[in-house]
């Protein structure tokens, strides 16, 4: 570490950090403060007309709105189902690939590649599969399961589930790669010792792999929670939040409120609520994993 004495060189060195700081302040920090401000005012979006301070009215409006409550329920479903499936499936995939079985590279690439695609493209791809006249229904017809044909993205019992499924499909590879990196850190001799002791591979999995990976697994779950709260592109491309708000998430609803209906205050309030949910999710899952460590 270099300790600078003269103030002049100090200032000179600070110039290095200035561009990053400026951009970061303008488009991240000031907007964070700004969003709190906007969430407390009523503003019709017309330049020149003054925003009016209304306290927590926007938040009250949001929580009274059935659309927002529905979007929260959808979000809960998205988070819970994603967490239940993402990490466990990713773990199984990683363990299977880690055996270096034949073709493991191909499998890894195949599972991972959706995560680098634009979610809009992924969403459209699946939209054409799940739309009423889409290929999935066509396939069901061909194999003689016509009675299962459903308008997947329209029917209220399947629409949100379908989107959650696509979210799982599109994200599982990400967690798989992270867990795979964690698996390589488990020394081989631990397994060897266990094998000598006569532990079956299933037993090894539960008694060595999972405990050793615990920190990584809990981090995956944490990232999954935050990531699922923030899903936007997928819904925007597949249903736009419809039909009739059925598949709205707080993110898509926020977009509609602010930029479609010019309810900038309500939009900002929803934005703040999304942030609070992320914070609670982070703190909460940290709390739970820390407590488990103690036991």
């Amino acid at each position: 570490m270099i300790k600078l004495k003269s103030n002049k060189t100090k200032m000179g060195v600070l110039l290095f950090i200035l561009p990053a700081l400026a951009i970061y302040l303008v488009f991240q920090i000031i907007p964070i403060i700004g969003s709190v401000y906007f969430s407390l005012v009523s503003w019709n979006g017309i330049a020149g007309s003054a925003p009016e301070f209304i306290g927590l009215q926007n938040y009250i409006y949001a929580f009274k709105s059935p659309d927002f409550i529905l979007s929260l329920k959808n979000m809960a479903k998205m988070v819970i189902v994603s967490v239940i499936f993402h990490t466990p499936i990713a773990l199984l995939m990683a363990v299977a690939i880690n055996t270096k079985c034949k073709g493991y590279r191909l499998f890894k690439a195949l599972f991972f590649v959706p995560t680098v695609f634009p979610l809009t493209a992924v969403g459209l791809m699946w939209y054409f599969i799940f739309m009423p006249t889409g290929s999935f229904n066509a396939l069901l017809d061909v194999v003689g399961l016509s009675n299962l044909v459903t308008p997947w993205l329209v029917d209220s019992s399947t629409a949100m589930n379908t989107i959650v499924f696509v979210n799982i499909w599109a994200g599982v590879g990400y967690y798989m790669v992270i867990i795979l990196a964690g698996l390589t850190t488990i020394p081989e001799d631990v397994y060897e010792a266990a094998a000598i002791d006569g532990a079956t591979s299933v037993k090894q999995f539960f008694q060595i792999t999972i405990p050793m990976l615990k920190p990584i697994l809990s981090m995956c779950i944490l990232m999954d929670i935050i990531g699922s709260v923030k899903v936007f592109d997928l819904v925007f491309a597949m249903t736009g939040g419809g039909p009739n708000g059925l598949t709205n998430l707080p993110t898509t609803l926020m977009y509609n409120e602010a930029f479609k209906y010019n309810h900038y205050g309500v939009g900002s309030a929803i934005g703040i609520i999304i942030m609070l949910i992320c914070i609670v999710g982070t703190v909460g899952s940290n709390f739970i994993t820390n407590r488990k460590k103690d036991i």
Partner: protein, 276 residues
């Protein structure tokens, strides 16, 4: 003993193949459909086309403007990558090499951005864009991309620089090199591995983004590809063949980047996540 293991292996293979089918099917369907005509696409999703319709690609590339969107995305994502590499490495140089009281606080300050969901700051950002007339202004769009990818980039590059050997630097300092010269000719070349990692991520991030261009870019001549694809679907949603071709064009670049830099992408992901 041996028998049971091979039995397990078979089960594992079957499961792997089934999962692989689930992952491959939608991609194969899209790829096949992109060279089929409208009727063929849905009569039997996995049948081969009777006549390969290359015309779909021509239609998407020229008439649906995908070529323009493609070029826009290359330029916008490229510029984002370059600005981020410069800006974040400069900041990381200070944060990793100089001892200031507030260094740790500053690094934490930059990390705040990773915690804040984009949607939280959307209204104020669009207010700034509107108030300063920065709509359809590509440099402004790039600055937004830079701002939102900055925390991750600074984190990765700072961590990497902390691990870089200091002897070369010290020698240069004794030779009388300025801090800028050290940054430019000593640190930067040594940081290339970290810079290439963040650049891949930043490129993908800019290529895949729709939210910011959706709000701030409405000039058709400036739209990036992911948004262009959505617009194409909105305007001509029943031209399935050309649409599928457009999807293939849109995902082609991330796919190629991944195939070329497979280790880098996967390694970078794990590094970024594990070191957090």
């Amino acid at each position: 003993m041996k028998k049971r293991i091979s039995g397990q292996k078979i089960i594992m293979y079957i499961l792997l193949l089934l999962t692989a089918a689930m992952f491959a099917a939608p991609m194969i369907f899209t790829l096949l459909s992109s060279v089929k005509n409208k009727v063929e696409i849905f009569t039997n999703p996995f049948a081969l086309p009777e006549v390969v319709q290359w015309g779909n690609y021509v239609e998407a590339w020229t008439n649906a403007n995908m070529s323009q969107y493609f070029l826009n995305s290359v330029l916008q994502a490229g510029a984002t990558v370059i600005v981020l590499a410069i800006v974040s490495s400069m900041a990381a140089y200070v944060l990793s090499r100089f001892q200031f009281k507030w260094n740790k606080a500053m690094l934490l300050f930059f990390m705040v951005g990773m915690m804040v969901p984009v949607h939280t700051v959307l209204v104020p950002v669009s207010y700034i864009i509107g108030a300063f007339n920065l709509k359809n202004n590509i440099p402004a769009l790039i600055m937004i991309y830079v701002a939102f990818n900055l925390p991750f980039s600074i984190l990765v590059v700072t961590n990497f620089m902390k691990g870089v050997n200091k002897s070369l630097e010290e020698a240069a300092l004794i030779d009388g090199a300025s801090y800028f010269q050290i940054y430019r000719f000593v640190m930067l070349p040594m940081t290339v591995p970290a810079l290439s990692t963040i650049s891949i991520f930043n490129f993908l991030g800019a290529w895949n983004n729709i939210l910011f261009p959706l709000l701030f870019i409405n000039d058709k001549k400036l739209k990036p590809i992911a948004l262009g694809l959505l617009n194409f679907n909105g305007e001509r949603g029943s031209d399935y063949g050309p649409l599928m071709a457009a999807i293939v064009i849109t995902v082609a670049v991330p796919l190629i980047i991944y195939l070329l830099f497979q280790e880098k992408v996967e390694g970078g992901l794990a590094a970024g996540a594990v070191k957090e």
